[in-house]
Symmetry: D2
Amino acid sequence: MEPEIKKGILFTAFGSSMPRGEAAITAVRAAVAAAYPDVEVRTAYTSRIIMRKLAREQGRVIDEPAIALAKMAYEGFTDVAALSAHIIPGAEYDDLAAVVKAFRMMGEEAPKAGFRRLCLSPPLLSSYEDFERIAGVMADAYKRETERGAVVLVGHGSSHFADAAYCALQMALWRRSPNFFVGALEGSMSFGDLLPRLGKSGAKKLILAPAMLVAGDHAYNDIAGGEPGSWKSMLEAEGYEVAPALTGWGENEAVRDMILDKLRDVWGEAY
Amino acid sequence: MEPEIKKGILFTAFGSSMPRGEAAITAVRAAVAAAYPDVEVRTAYTSRIIMRKLAREQGRVIDEPAIALAKMAYEGFTDVAALSAHIIPGAEYDDLAAVVKAFRMMGEEAPKAGFRRLCLSPPLLSSYEDFERIAGVMADAYKRETERGAVVLVGHGSSHFADAAYCALQMALWRRSPNFFVGALEGSMSFGDLLPRLGKSGAKKLILAPAMLVAGDHAYNDIAGGEPGSWKSMLEAEGYEVAPALTGWGENEAVRDMILDKLRDVWGEAY
Amino acid sequence: MEPEIKKGILFTAFGSSMPRGEAAITAVRAAVAAAYPDVEVRTAYTSRIIMRKLAREQGRVIDEPAIALAKMAYEGFTDVAALSAHIIPGAEYDDLAAVVKAFRMMGEEAPKAGFRRLCLSPPLLSSYEDFERIAGVMADAYKRETERGAVVLVGHGSSHFADAAYCALQMALWRRSPNFFVGALEGSMSFGDLLPRLGKSGAKKLILAPAMLVAGDHAYNDIAGGEPGSWKSMLEAEGYEVAPALTGWGENEAVRDMILDKLRDVWGEAY
Amino acid sequence: MEPEIKKGILFTAFGSSMPRGEAAITAVRAAVAAAYPDVEVRTAYTSRIIMRKLAREQGRVIDEPAIALAKMAYEGFTDVAALSAHIIPGAEYDDLAAVVKAFRMMGEEAPKAGFRRLCLSPPLLSSYEDFERIAGVMADAYKRETERGAVVLVGHGSSHFADAAYCALQMALWRRSPNFFVGALEGSMSFGDLLPRLGKSGAKKLILAPAMLVAGDHAYNDIAGGEPGSWKSMLEAEGYEVAPALTGWGENEAVRDMILDKLRDVWGEAY
């Protein structure tokens, strides 16, 4: 006897503990819900620090992916898509993929503990085409800005191989405009690495924006904060005139379309 | 940096929705807790029907193993033993083993999603030695009864290969006394199969007892209930004088010792 | 681009190093090949001792399952059924199942390293129905013998839970005739355990036959050999008149049909 | 009873069907063998096309990883390191990792089918540090050349996310000299993408070298061949003076040291 089909999407993001940051997450999740109006959309975060902070400070419980998936199996969901709203296939995504794979194995050996179908949509920047597409989105978003000065996009960076994504992003953006510059808080595309690239451009006026899903703690503090260690402060100390543009990529409709297209690729339009 | 060690035991049983049945489960869990006083013992059930009934009727939420393990990982447990309080290595145990294996794989690929160490203790009747030992326990428990008449032990039975356990139990009990008889509600050791065996013994007085962890719904209804279809009624219709002995194996200290020994075998004394 | 479909069966047996034993294996494999004339049938053994002996003494190389499957993947097989010609779901079968499961996982993550489809047929005695059916087969095979005296079937036995299969076989055979007796070289159904059962039957003349796929080393030596420690010698020392019937189950067409039916159950008729 | 320890290394490369290409592979394998003189080193290739060509044209059989590992398990190896001599963590490496993971799972469930210990060393360019280190190696190797003109390194490229490695390589090499340029036969760093970067440098004389383990078919044909479609021909058509430098990275001792260090990281010095 086949169980009744019950479809669900597990929207999975790193998470944010700032309302501004959650706005971007909420916007992406709303786009997903609008695209699949008949499917229940649940939310999981992958950052334990953020989940614990939300629980402690706001009494809000958000599950991590394994708990959320286990609950969905118990509640009878049969067809589930885990959507990764991560930017790069780094450590957070690898962990999510391992959880999904384990639930898939669970479902093969103990059908009631898993799902009939469980797929995972890849992160935003997973292939050559993704870098081309995001570069186009950024070129549209910062058309005027790149004509008048430089635009510096600052990502999270990583000690994982996926840190190379920020290099690929730089190369792809340069195909659009020589005035795009990519840096990252961690990894190879450091502030020290950015400066000489920026210097050669001759630009004096900079737009400083996060290359992140959300404009949250990193954007408001590490990137554009007023403290001496922020990228804004350090760039100003180098003589640049810096205007922060604090919107997360999740607030950009064209980025949301990219995320939705990835979900459609693995889950199909019909769902 | 090694995480701080946090040990936990996930006591896992089929479950029971009757207070009498839960008494046996509680007794086993208490024995586990007493044997490992410094370790937190959590409980999971494997029967969704029972969990849903408890939630609906009593507002009590008991997690199934995957949810319980996912929560323990999130809460920082590092060394976990899943204890199977199942009687035979049948479908319920196979599912539990699949869940444990998936969490082990999860932990290897995404350490934070799993445990440093995760083991699973096998069900009560897992080997030749177990059948010998349980036969000894039953021989002690029903010494007088087998001298005066027959003792019929009724298990759950299964369409799984592990149904053979009830045959092995019959053979092992016969090594102790020819007056032990094994039947099962499902599978090969049916009521129809029991009758000729019982007939040859010449016994007229029978003790009728469950070969189950708990004396719950099955014991009070299917085995010893007053309805025409119960084993008690059917045996009486065949002319036997039937005295029910409605205690679950979990209420027997020697059985609890067997369960604890299995946990020690896989987890070690030191825990 | 879908690869061209290439179907294969991996016939997997414990193995035998005696020509008489291999006859039974050859008969089963031939039946499989005849049932699926368009499918290539390959052979793997699970006993390393036997494979090494064959390689050393006869220069014949038979692969174990992992090597055979890895070669089939390399050679472009897409749809493979591993057929277990084992009698019980014991340690040999568990190992085979683990290998098959690992290749399935391999194929999901690295399609070229695995198969589009890989299934495994369960061992001969896997469920209640199997015990009923084999009992019928044995009742047919030993109709006259059970009318004139006792038939003792001696299996391999195991320290694995699946040793219970020999108890289930005993119970199922007794449903056919009280003159069937089961023993095993290892595990619970030992010679010492058999004697009292046999004694109660009053039989003096015994047929002694293996409950094994092949009549090989165990049958010719441990069971029916002329040495003092063989079951034949020990039974004769107890006063029985013993006639060995040294044919492996694989030489019985009705047993081969059971094996084929299990393959059809998991792989389908169409193949 | 613990089995006797038997250590082995499975040296795994894409493979090459040209003697010149195999020279680089042989050099790396020899370095591995010299570093672990007491350990047997076996070889597997991951390119089926190359393995089939070698078998067909030269009668040489080289196993792919799954066959090689299955044979090692059968032959009693207990501690095995699979060494990936791939450049990037792309599709070839992912497949190898899936095979290794499956053998690890096999070994957990069926110890005799797997290994006591099985590890996998990551590909050459797996982290930020690797890009820095290879950039240093290249800067040393082409010190004079980058002072006199441009050096163009051509990698394989990929439709996999790991194609970003060539972007990261470009960024890392620019930290050493503005005269390094990276291209790839596939993926984002195409010939068309290289030309404008190269044009800005003002260089007229180019060294054209593979960014590959071996200088084989790709190096001699696609990169430096005399045919019109080769990168050499296309660069010459653009007016550049091109001098090929056809050595594989495996022929560079400093690259071999990187590979060995990765093996040591996962397997330890003591082996």
